[in-house]
């Protein structure tokens, strides 16, 4: 398996998904070597984590998103180059995979997202190993409809072309792959991400946000959203809908948890709309502070313009939130007890917010309903799907090449 991150060295959902999927696959008898582009102790009994290079986990993303080179901290373990970009890391990763495949012949190479597709193509092209490309997100999701980095588009496209089979995390993602990359639908299977109960103990004690607790007692409804403040998340629509909702039902507070390039614009916008009293920016948070956001809020909104899956929605549901999710978010395809809207439909979002704030029956229906749903979504089902796909592509394996 070719990946870029595993918890705790993860920056987002990709690492969580890779870890849980591997665990379920291993339980089903899969023998997994998981290659990561950095050096760290993982100590997982169910699979072997292999480091492709000596690199500190913190810099493996290099300058992918800034497209400039960054300084490497001079750890004595790190490879000798003075500077690395993500392209350098990918190149070293590919060289490692090449060496690895001279020695081992896996039945299938399962590559997660564009970061590892070049290595996957190498395995397919030069070693005849069947390639499964797992799409957690496309560059069209990350960069907005027509934007994105052309180089990444190119790599993504080639990976999808070379793959024997593609696994997409939602129908929405599959549609993008079909429509934007022109891949035949029959080559793509949908396997929704799963959900695992968090292992560690967590108790909400109300200490993190006492101001909000006070507002709640006064009858305020707390609405939250969590994520990067980027184009992909559709937050301007959410802000305008918030203003419309507050004009009808003033006792509402909106929590914007996260950070990103749109932060200042969003703050200005809330002032222009005259609702800055009702909007709270938490800045970037993680751990208990993040969990507490989910605990204190009544409603969670996922306003994304394009969201391949959206694990945060499941997290919010787990903490008893009613969910409002755009129709452009993959997670909405597997949940029924949610309100869905088109990301541009500010009126519908505002209407849903007002109704939820004013109707205990609606909140309870959404909350109770979702409890039966999110826990049913299991990683074992994703693993089963992967095994089916493996069985299908295994016959493509060529021993003499």
């Amino acid at each position: 398996m070719l990946g870029w991150e595993l918890p705790p060295h993860n920056s987002g959902g990709l690492g969580v998904a890779c870890l849980n999927l591997s665990k379920s696959l291993a339980n089903m008898g899969a023998d997994i070597d998981f290659v990561v582009p950095y050096e760290a102790e993982h100590n997982l009994e169910y699979m072997k984590v292999i480091s492709a290079m000596r690199l500190d986990p913190l810099i493996r993303y290099g300058g992918a998103y800034e497209s400039k080179e960054i300084e490497v901290k001079k750890f004595h373990k790190t490879d000798t180059k003075q500077t690395v970009s993500i392209r350098d890391i990918q190149k070293t990763y590919c060289e490692f995979i090449h060496k690895y495949l001279m020695q081992y012949k896996p039945d299938v190479v399962h590559a997660h997202d564009w970061l590892t597709y070049e290595a996957g193509i190498l395995a397919k092209k030069h070693f005849g190993i069947p390639l499964v490309a797992h799409v957690h997100a496309t560059e069209f999701d990350r960069g907005g409809a027509d934007g994105g980095n052309p180089l990444i588009h190119q790599i993504e496209y080639e990976g999808l072309i070379w793959a024997d089979k593609i696994i997409a995390v939602s129908q929405a993602t599959k549609n993008i792959i079909v429509e934007r990359y022109g891949i035949p639908p029959s080559k793509i299977d949908v396997a929704y991400n799963g959900w695992t109960m968090p292992d560690e103990e967590y108790h909400y004690d109300g200490s993190s946000y006492q101001y909000l607790e006070g507002l709640k007692k006064k009858g305020y409804t707390i609405v939250s959203t969590v994520g990067r403040f980027t184009l992909q998340k559709g937050l301007f629509h959410l802000m305008r809908a918030a203003a419309r909702a507050i004009s009808i039902h003033p006792k509402m507070v909106f929590l914007f948890a996260g950070d990103g390039e749109q932060k200042e614009q969003l703050m200005r916008m809330s002032a222009d709309l005259g609702i800055s009293q009702n909007v709270i920016f938490t800045g970037f948070i993680r751990g208990k502070q993040l969990r507490d956001i989910y605990s204190i809020s009544d409603v969670f909104v996922m306003s994304s313009v394009s969201e391949p899956f959206g694990l945060t929605a499941l997290e919010a549901a787990h903490h008893g939130n009613a969910l409002i999710v755009t129709k452009q978010s993959g997670v909405g395809e597997v949940l029924h007890s949610i309100v869905r809207y088109d990301f541009w439909d500010e009126d519908k979002l505002a209407g849903a917010l007002v109704n939820i704030a004013e109707s205990p029956a609606l909140v309870n229906s959404l909350r109770d309903g979702i409890k039966h749903e999110y826990a049913r979504i299991s990683w074992d089902d994703v693993a089963k799907k992967c095994v089916e796909v493996y069985d299908e592509v295994r016959k493509h394996k060529r021993n003499r090449f």
């Binding site: 029924h336 209407g351 609606l362």
Partner: protein
Amino acid sequence: MRSIVLYLHMHQPWRLKHYNIFSVDHDHDYWTEKDWYAGTNNERIFKKVADKSYRPMLARLEKCINTYEGFKFSLSITGTFLDQAEQWAPDVIDTLKRLVKSGRVEIVAETYYHSLAFFYDREEFEAQVKLHQDRIYELFGVRSKVYRNTELSYNNELARWADGYGFKGVLAEGWDKILEWRSPNFVYRPEGCKNIKLLMKNYRLSDDVAFRFSDKHWKEWPLTVDKYIQWLEAATLRGPLINLFMDFETFGENIWEDTGIFEFFEHLVYRWDRDKDNNFLTVSEACDSAEPTAEISMPWTVTWADTERDLSAWLGNSMQHEAMKAIYDIKSEVLATGDETLIEDWRRLQTSDHPYYMCTKYFNDGDVHAYFSPYDSPYDAFLYYMNSLRDMRGRLEGVTKPKRSKK
């Protein structure tokens, strides 16, 4: 004598358009969907179903009435259906008038608005039964003698009410849990009633046509008239009355014309009528045909819906309860206005289809498409419903207080 008691139900609700929160207080028209192709466009749907089902099936029924002297049947037609038919398919009403005039088509009583008022407000319920009776008299010149409640919902209390009102019969689902070892093919007496009689739907034979006829995975598919007649005759060994109760739209809308359902029906009437031991009865005639065999008690409410045969599709979750409570809570204020449009809107919102669209119970079986709804989700149905109620409360305030100044 072996008798088929055929009873068909005709209903169309007024679907709420996608009525968003920003329409509240200035748009009081909840029913006119501008988008012709929207699932909530009442006119389009009525005209579509009229073409696919009402017109072709009524034509067959009329042909059967004219051809076979012994053919008779019963119909229940809701007020909301009649109002829509008058606007969008007046010829359907003309055909119904001719059928009733033949004297062999009986109209069954029910609430005008196909509502659940019986379970919420007895006074409003009786008002709706009277409205329906009057409308039927005005259009067809007859008064109904047999009662059916919305979705065939029935319990002992309903039977006692119908008995006291003076109906000669009442219809209910012939559900196994109530009948136990008994057959639905007899006339029964509801427990604690003096005069009224109870007719119970033979759901197996009814559903063979209404649900299974077009099901190619059914082991009896295709259902031929020969086979069905054999089943009917075998069933009469357990009592003389075969109560076939179904939705009118079974013919042409739920089961499409290309399955041969119309031909099946016509041929069935021909074959049944041909045998001297067979006849057709209307529901009143069926009630008169025999003295009650035994008493039947239904302490809880039974309907003709779902495998549960209860009201859980309408009143199974908290949204449905809240919506229904909210609509009946404003009754006295609404009626006090004397404003006909307002009262009409309020009553249209009582139609049982509204809470039905809010049903969430199928989420548990994962059978999301088991329930037809013009909305994307039950939550959307609830949102639009509560928005319209908000507007209605605003209208009520406007009647008693000077209009608020809006920004």
